[in-house]
């Protein structure tokens, strides 16, 4: 018997839950200048998140999917990307979207049911949030194929959850990305749950990262609550993709601290103790502790950051709440490049019905 192929999954962690380095951090990532922007973004996302839930509870926002506990992934991914790269996100990647220039107000609008919230004023090539699970992995492959065809030094980053990796769309995308050797990075936020189905009943594979091997490229697992680890893995993956080295899968291990969405009550199906344990690995805690150990962060900084995040979120809420609702014709006007004549009657009827009350 001859062994013809071997695969191994690396696990990367630089900061333990207490913020202590577990190994030498590459110098450019070790300094406060590298960490502080991620920390600030995580704090902003967390403030946004709490506000979104509060708005939903008071009937001022639709169903909302919190990213509580997963902010380090988005912050590191978003800040690692270049502006002309393309993000193809799932619904739990607020931090990455904010890093890319999606505004707080846009995401409030989106979660209120206003399609204008997906018309990002910042990133012009990023995709809107994908709700049908894993479908975006196929779009990411297509966007990467387009970039490759034009010979541009850009990379597509796709985000999805652990549950999404079970879907045919996901496997087929990995295969296509591998065989076409595309500039794409698949980032799997493995938060241990897909609604009420735990990771153990989602996949028999030891890691989700290893799914990359069947596609013919590298998969790596990182501590998703350690922004340094995520950033390190992303820098490598982006560089590889940009220089023609093909795709990478980054599995970021984290935990969904909140309910699946505001329409869910996770206490019905998961152990409170499990959640309590997971809280000790909160990415905010370790990042702050590490910054403090560098003497680069203190109580005053924290207070100022809290104030700034609160103010920015409040401004966004006010702008969002002051936005007049979409008019009835919006149903028709975004549907085709040009509205077919046969639909103009229906459009007029919708306007009329609305004004009739």
């Amino acid at each position: 018997m001859t062994r013809i192929a071997e695969f191994a999954v690396e696990y990367i962690q630089f900061l333990d839950p207490a913020g202590k380095p577990t190994q030498d951090i590459p110098p450019h990532l070790a300094e406060a200048e590298a960490i502080t922007p991620m920390y600030r973004l995580m704090a902003l996302t967390r403030t946004f998140d709490a506000k979104a839930i509060a708005l939903q509870r008071t009937g001022q926002l639709g169903t909302y999917a919190s990213s509580l506990g997963q902010e380090a992934i988005g912050a590191a991914v978003g800040l690692a990307m270049r502006q002309d790269d393309v993000l193809v996100p799932s619904y739990r990647e607020q931090a990455a979207q904010f890093a890319r220039g999606v505004t707080l107000e846009e995401l409030f609008l989106y979660w209120s049911g206003d399609e204008r919230g997906s018309r990002y004023s910042g990133p012009q090539f990023d995709f809107p949030i994908s709700i049908p699970i894993a479908t975006q992995s196929c779009h990411a492959v297509g966007a990467a194929a387009a970039i490759k065809l034009r010979g541009e030094p850009r990379v597509v980053v796709e985000g999805c959850g652990d549950g999404a990796t079970s879907k045919g769309d996901f496997y087929e995308s990995l295969n296509l990305a591998g065989v076409w050797h595309l500039p794409v990075v698949f980032v799997v936020s493995n938060n241990q749950w897909a609604i009420s189905v735990p990771r153990s009943r989602q996949s028999g594979a030891k890691t989700l990262a290893q799914k990359a091997f069947a596609g013919g490229f590298e998969g790596v697992q990182v501590d998703g609550n350690d922004p340094v680890a995520v950033r390190f893995a992303m820098d490598n993956a982006l560089e590889r993709a940009r220089s023609g080295g093909g795709p990478t899968l980054v599995e970021a291990v984290t935990y969904r601290l909140q309910d699946h969405t505001t329409a869910d009550d996770a206490s019905r199906y998961r152990d409170a103790e499990e959640v309590e344990t997971a809280k000790q690995s909160d990415p905010m805690i370790r990042t702050r502790r590490y910054l403090e150990s560098l003497q680069a962060w203190g109580d005053e900084d924290e207070a100022a950051l809290k104030e700034e995040c609160g103010r920015r979120v409040q401004e966004a809420v006010e702008a969002y709440l002051a936005t007049p609702p979409e008019p009835p014709e919006a149903m028709f006007d975004s549907l085709y490049a040009e509205l077919p004549g046969a639909l103009t009657g229906q459009r007029a009827e919708a306007i009329k019905e609305n004004s009739d009350g």
């Binding site: 709700i131 079970s166 735990p198 199906y269 609702p325 009835p328 639909l343 229906q346």
Partner: protein
């Protein structure tokens, strides 16, 4: 007899059929949920709690949580059905049916036919449909016309708790593949439902109201709205028949034609988009078979030809309302008066 919600009625039909027949199993995403720790198991029962309580009685062998792999588990349900089980697979939202459409319209629907009648595929696919939940375009569609179009499938549209229990029981006992459409806005509706198992036949429409002036032909959630309108108009001297189709495949053509002939005026109420829909199909059926009896053109009350909007204000305009149904009924009545005068 006792009051049961639509959700409870479906749950009870499943439980009773699972007791009666050990080959009945169910599977789907989040159908059981939980890690298995005491207290957390089966605390869930699907996104809308429909399968709750079944796992403790029937065990995880027959109550299966699936990964997010629609093509695999719907295909597996079809395969298991062809080899002696009666799987009830839940596809959370009909909007995601595209993921596994090959398994449904090329496989389940055609197994019997393409195996010379040898393969039996008694699979039921339960799915949620319909607007009204502020759930956006990819969670709110009414895609039953797509399935009705495919020969070999049966398509069931329960309009109330009583209907849901009887029709699901029939669906599970039926030897053909059945797509069972549950309207997400109906789950908390309540009515008297028999405690013992019973079946309601496929292909036999149900007259929920009987009247002489107008036939309202409808299905699913729209039956409830149409009944409201019929009751209201009764007071104004307009008497309506309300035809609940119950199943779009097989379709009870005879009852539809009879009601059109008896009243001469027809309003078809269908929550789906208007092109290639049950509304157009029924209109065609009536004009072909009862043209001479018609006293007015057939009116269709449907959603517009747009995706279901996410915004609450727009979704409210999108969904057919009692006011729109009433206006249509009044219009066909007024039309006939003009002709007579």
């Amino acid at each position: 007899m006792s009051k049961k919600t639509y959700r409870q009625a479906i749950n009870e039909a499943l439980a009773q059929e699972m007791r009666r027949d050990p080959t009945v199993i169910f599977m789907g995403e989040d159908n059981v949920g939980g890690m298995g720790a005491p207290g957390e198991d089966d605390a869930w029962g699907g996104v809308l709690g429909v399968t709750k309580g079944l796992m403790p009685e029937f065990g995880r062998e027959r109550c299966l949580d699936t990964p997010i792999s629609e093509s695999a588990f719907i295909g597996a349900a079809v395969g298991a059905a062809a080899t002696g089980l009666r799987p009830v697979a839940e596809l959370m939202f009909v909007d995601f049916m595209g993921v596994c459409f090959d398994q449904i319209f090329n496989q389940a629907a055609k197994f019997r036919y393409m195996f010379g009648g040898k393969a039996v595929t008694p699979v039921v696919i339960r799915t949620m449909y319909g607007a009204g939940f502020r759930a956006a375009s990819q969670h709110s569609q009414c895609l039953y016309p797509l399935f009705t179009h495919i020969p070999g499938l049966k398509v069931v549209m329960p309009s109330s708790p009583y209907e849901a229990k009887g029709l699901l029981t029939q669906a599970i006992r039926d030897d053909d593949p059945v797509i069972f459409f549950e309207h997400k806005v109906l789950y908390d509706d309540e009515e008297e439902v028999p405690d013992d198992p019973y079946t309601l036949p496929f292909g036999e429409a149900n007259l929920t109201r009987e009247g002489d002036d107008v036939a309202i032909v409808t299905l699913g959630r729209m039956v409830k709205l149409s009944n409201e309108v019929a009751d209201k108009l009764e007071g104004d001297g307009i008497s309506c028949t309300v035809v609940d189709l119950r199943t779009t495949s097989p379709l009870d053509e005879d009852t539809i034609i009879e009601c059109a002939e008896e009243t001469g005026r027809v309003v078809v109420v269908d929550e789906a988009n208007p092109r290639c829909s049950m509304a157009t199909d029924i209109s065609a059926l009536i004009t072909q078979n009862a043209f001479g009896a018609l006293k007015s053109p057939i009116k269709m009350v449907t959603a517009p030809h747009t995706p279901p909007p996410f915004a609450p204000e727009l979704e409210d305009i999108y969904i057919p309302t009692p006011a729109k149904i009433e206006a249509a009924v009044r219009e066909v009545v007024a039309y006939s008066r003009e002709v007579v005068a």
